[in-house]
C-alpha cells in the first residue's frame, strides 16, 4: 500500500515542480518539497518493512521497522508543516524567518503527542482545502479536500490503533484512499486542455 502511496506522492510532486518551473510561484515549490518529503518517508518506511519481511523477522534487522516508521513520521511532520506554512504564507504573508524559527519544535520523538500534532496539521490543511472548495466548487478542489481529510482520519486511526489493533488496517486503507483521491485529481488536471 505504501509503495502505491509513494508513487502517487512522487507524481503530485512532479506536477508541482512542473507548475513551479512554468509560473515561478513559490507555493508550488513548497507543494513539491512537501510531497517529495511525503514520498521519501513512505519509501523509507516501506523499504524498512520489506527488509524485515524478507529476512523473516531476523533479530538483527528488527530495528529497521521502528526506524523506518519514525523517519516516515518525521518526514510527514515536516511535509505537512511545510504545506501549512504555504497556506499561511499565501493568506497572511508570514515572514519565512519566523517559520524557520518555529521549525525545530517539530523534531520530537514518535509518541502520541507528535501524532496529535500531525493530526492538527492535517486538520488545518483539510480546513484550508475545504474553504478552497467552498469558494471555487471544482471537483479537483473536492478531491484534494477529500484526500487531506482521509489522511487526517488515517492518522487518527494510527493514534487509536495503540488501543484497538484493528485500526492499523483501517489507518492504512484511509491513507491509501487519500492518495488515490490525489491520483484522481492528477488525472483530471492532465485532461485539462
Amino acid at each position: 500500500m505504501e509503495f502505491i502511496a509513494f508513487a502517487i506522492a512522487l507524481a503530485v510532486a512532479y506536477q508541482a515542480l512542473k507548475g513551479y518551473r512554468l509560473s515561478k510561484e513559490r507555493t508550488l515549490l513548497y507543494l513539491n518539497l512537501s510531497f517529495m518529503l511525503l514520498g521519501a518517508g513512505l519509501l523509507i518506511d516501506s523499504l524498512a518493512n520489506l527488509v524485515v519481511l524478507l529476512t523473516r523477522f531476523h533479530r538483527a534487522f528488527l530495528f529497521l521497522s521502528p526506524l523506518g516508521y519514525t523517519m516516515n513520521f518525521v518526514a510527514q511532520l515536516l511535509a505537512y508543516a511545510l504545506l501549512v506554512f504555504a497556506y499561511v504564507e499565501q493568506t497572511r504573508n508570514v515572514d519565512i524567518q519566523i517559520a524557520m524559527a518555529v521549525a525545530p519544535v517539530l523534531f520530537f520523538e514518535h509518541n502520541a503527542v507528535t501524532e496529535l500534532i500531525l493530526i492538527f496539521l492535517l486538520v488545518y490543511i483539510s480546513a484550508q482545502t475545504a474553504i478552497n472548495y467552498s469558494m471555487n466548487k471544482s471537483r479537483n478542489a473536492l478531491l484534494v479536500f477529500g484526500a487531506f481529510a482521509s489522511l487526517a482520519v488515517s492518522h487518527l486511526f494510527f493514534l487509536i490503533f495503540t488501543l484497538v489493533p484493528v485500526f492499523f488496517a483501517f489507518a492504512h486503507i484511509a491513507q491509501l484512499f487519500g492518495f488515490l483521491l490525489l491520483l484522481a485529481m492528477l488525472f483530471r488536471v492532465n485532461q485539462t486542455s
Binding site: L28, A86, Q90, M135, R139, N140, A141, V189
Partner: protein, 103 residues
C-alpha cells in the same frame, strides 16, 4: 475544460498582475478571438495601456508564442508553441487551484 471547473468568482481580486499573468491574459484574448486578435481587442480584453500592450506584444513575439501579421491593420495569433504553452498553463493553474493556490 477549465472554464467549467471554476466559477467566475473563484479568483480573489489581485493587487497587481505578475508578468506571467499579463502574458496569459493577452494570449487568452487572442484565443477568445478565434486566434486572430487586433491590438484594440487585446488592449481592452487584457486591460492594458497602449504602451504596455506594445511592450508585452513585442516580448511575446520574441518568445515565439505569438505571431504578428498584416502591415497597417496588425493581427496577432498564437503560434503552436503559444498554444502548447496555454495548454500547459491551464493544467498548472487547474492543479494549483485544486490546492487553493493562485498563480
Amino acid at each position: 475544460m477549465m472554464a467549467s471547473e471554476q466559477s467566475p468568482n473563484a479568483k480573489p481580486p489581485a493587487k497587481y498582475r505578475s508578468q506571467l499573468r499579463i502574458y496569459v491574459d493577452i494570449m487568452l484574448v487572442i484565443q477568445r478571438e478565434n486566434n486572430e486578435a487586433k491590438p484594440t481587442r487585446i488592449l481592452y480584453g487584457a486591460n492594458l495601456s497602449h504602451d504596455r500592450l506594445v511592450k508585452y506584444l513585442e516580448e511575446l513575439r520574441q518568445l515565439g508564442v505569438i505571431h504578428e501579421s498584416g502591415t497597417e491593420d496588425k493581427v496577432y495569433s498564437l503560434t503552436q508553441k503559444g498554444i502548447e504553452f496555454m495548454n500547459n498553463f491551464r493544467r498548472v493553474e487547474s492543479f494549483a487551484n485544486a490546492f487553493g493556490f493562485r498563480i
